[in-house]
Symmetry: C2
Subunit: 205 residues, 2 copies
């Protein structure tokens, strides 16, 4: 264990990590700049060497989350190719998997109250994540007869909303509100029924 020098070396990222673990442990409200600094072994004032302030730190945590999120979605999409259906279903599963694996990031992204327009970078990377799902939806909807094809943006909005709802309502350890079913099953079956409704899955089980 080498003695830490006067300079931290990687304080910026250490602060982001501290913020994430605080958010994960105590919710978006539980995070304070001072406590994050303390957890990184540093004076609160040191934070200002790396961030404009509290909100800026959260925004960076969210940005990193979107970055991971977009990668995860992209990877899932690719793994299902060349089948449009497999690619689409994989991205749906990836949404929930991300929320479970990176709860701190997820909360920073969707529940911390920071706007996706906080910075151009944040807007861009969130757009990138959305685009993956939308592309998967677009390609899948090619298999629906044109005249009864819903707009792909609506299609993907439905799945996004269902996924988000499942996460918020059933995949949180909010005390007392335990899920009647595993969230993964809920999302899987929900998407299944939905795709069947679009004629993209056979009518029978």
């Amino acid at each position: 264990m080498s003695k830490r020098g006067y300079h931290h070396g990687n304080l910026r990222q250490a602060l982001v990590d501290a913020a994430l673990s605080l958010i994960e442990a105590k919710g978006p409200t539980g995070f304070t700049l001072s406590e994050a600094a303390k957890q990184a072994g540093v004076t609160p004032a040191a934070v200002y060497r790396h961030f404009a302030g509290r909100e800026d730190l959260i925004a960076e945590a969210a940005r990193q989350g979107y970055e991971i999120f977009a990668d995860v979605m992209q990877y899932a999409y690719d793994s299902g190719q060349p089948s449009a259906l497999a690619a689409f279903e994989a991205t749906g599963r990836a949404y929930l998997a991300f929320a479970r694996k990176y709860p701190g990031h997820y909360i920073a992204m969707f529940e911390s109250g920071i706007s996706v327009n906080h910075s151009p970078e944040l807007a861009a990377v969130s757009r990138r994540a959305r685009d993956v799902l939308e592309r998967a939806a677009t390609e899948l909807s090619q298999h629906i007869p044109e005249e009864k094809r819903p707009p792909p943006a609506m299609f993907s909005a439905h799945i996004w909303a269902l996924s988000h709802g499942v996460v918020e309502l059933f995949a949180r350890n909010s005390p007392g509100t335990q899920s009647p079913f595993p969230p993964e099953d809920l999302l899987e079956t929900g998407i299944g029924v939905y795709l069947r409704g679009l004629g993209l899955l056979p009518k029978d089980e």
Copy 2:
């Protein structure tokens, strides 16, 4: 304008109303006990005549929200009877209508971080609201051949999640994240596709 007496007369409810308007205006974090008291024209200390503390005040706001919510859902359900399908679709629409009409209550209920088990009353009334949707789902699912019928609790969980996701992602005036479609349309079409997937709506438009 009669001079206010020394006693407020209905301070308890005035505080709840103040809390709701603050929550609506500034989010669940924006609400403070002190400011709610100020808005009700009263000293912060006066709050303690009526509530155990800050959290207790939010819980009461949420409780009143669930009460209204359950009534609204029940009314919608009744209005669709005797058609199981009409009743179900009406409750779906009622969910979103409630979220739009009572944003303060909605946030207190679902985003304030208070547990539904804060008090037995709160647990009971939230149970009542859930039960309406679950009953509608149960009745509607009678029309599905028994062997391919999903558990009604799962059925209603899907709709609950979709509705909640639509509200959170597309029905909030979160700056920059405007919806590509009106939330009402999104929910309506989403539920439509879903019901078609269950064989409860004809295959063709």
